[in-house]
Amino acid sequence: MPRNTTKKSQTKSLKTVKEKLKELEACSIDDKKTRDLENSRMALMNILEDVEEARKKAEEEKEKTASIVRNLSDGLIVLDDKGKISLLNPQSEKILEIPQKEMVGKKIGDFEGVERMNPLFKLFKKELKSIFRKEIFIDKELILEVSTVPMIISGTEFGTIIILHDITREKTVERMKTEFVSLAAHQLRTPLSAIKWTIKMLLEGDAGEINESQRDLIEKSYQSNERMIGLINDLLDITRIEEGRYLYNPTLDDLINVTESVVKASQDTIKKKGVKFEFKKPPKRIPRVMMDTEKIRLAIQNLLENAIRYTPSGGKVTISIKSDKNKIEFQIGDTGVGIPKEQQLKIFSKFFRGSNVTKLETEGSGLGLFIAKNIIEAHGGKIWFESEEGKGSVFHFLLPVKKELEEFLKEF
């Protein structure tokens, strides 16, 4: 190829390239715009798609949540921050027999006089107090356990959920169990009294003279039988506590007198055990308290029996009573074996006995403190203790000085 020709053609082609480039440049400006536009459109579409997807997802989630709420076996009532009902599930409609549309937007306090709403009305008419597993009766056949849960999102409370949990079946089973124990205990009493009477007549010589070693054996069986009767009585007390028909005929009574009668009845046991005993009475008279005297006597007796039983001979048991115008405090301290720290939480449980005392002796049913706690609490009082293993225990109970019966007959 000749050189100049080449140059010429080179120049030409350069020109073409330049033009082309220009063309391309012009074109690319347009194209870039289009492409940008296209890109934006695509991005927008993507966003829209994402939004749609998110919306669908949210809808699905919402539907899922709604379906969970709808199909929960518990009734749910959702209230907004002003206490107005914003949602309730079919289960609550069924329980309350009021359709959702008649409930939404109203407050619980608006349902005065609506029969099935009455228990909830009573609970929440003034305020939405927080409640945990409170038992209520909607009617004779429907018992609920009500709890409230605050709805809190990032620190702000924007409403409350009321949960209505049906416990009718549990209650029925519980009642059947209680009735069974009660019936069994009653049935057991018949042969136990026959044994008691037969042995007693033997001991009294109704069947002729008995010699010393015979008497010794017969007395042992009599004692064992008495223990059995005591156990059955404890069981019966418990069934009555569980049936909620425990307190009977409360009257104004003096706790000092009641305590004295228990102490008097325990004199023999105190002497036999060889423990020192002191009853520190307050210098002034104490106010009389509404009480089921027999039951309070039983509570004190259980506390005193424990103190004597678990205090080694040479130890000391002290009872003291003090009062102000609102309450009376009973206190019983001992220098006994104490309650192991890790078991202190369980001490008022039914059938519970400390590991250190089960080693000590087999007697004791583990029911005494459970019964005492229920008696005191049924009177609107409270019971507590301090204890150190190896050093002793102090049990306290408080009884409120009140004259109103309503307050007194607290439900269990």
């Binding site: 009653h186 009294s193 009477w197 109704d206 009977y248």
Partner: protein, 121 residues
């Protein structure tokens, strides 16, 4: 000799109480349920009735109710001897005119005898 009517369905209890009461010089008539008890009360006019509560046919409460309706036997004193002894039951029985209430697991024959003596004198 004072006459005591024992209305009770438990054979062992009947045996024990009868033995104790006869030993102490009382005449004892036994009825094994409420119905028999009513008949015996009308026929024998006892000085005292020992009455169980839980019995077949007629309970002790039924017996008290019927007895209170009958002028002839209304004033015969009654002591309840029962396995149970709820304050509610005792109150109800006292309102029906019962003189005393003994819970079998809490009393023994000797104490029953003392209660009987108190009512008959």
């Amino acid at each position: 000799m004072a006459k005591i009517l024992l209305i009770e369905d438990e054979e062992i209890m009947i045996g024990l109480l009868q033995k104790k009461l006869v030993q102490s010089g009382y005449e004892v008539i036994v009825a094994r349920n409420g119905l028999e008890g009513m008949d015996a009360m009308r026929k024998e006019k006892p000085d005292l009735v020992l009455l169980d509560i839980i019995m077949p046919k007629m309970t002790g409460f039924d017996v008290m109710e019927k007895k209170n309706e009958d002028k002839e036997i209304r004033d015969i004193p009654v002591i309840i001897i029962s396995n149970s002894g709820q304050p509610v039951e005792i109150d109800k029985a006292k309102r029906m005119g019962v003189r005393d209430w003994l819970i079998k697991t809490e009393f023994d024959p000797q104490e029953v005898l003392e209660k009987v003596k108190k009512q008959i004198n």
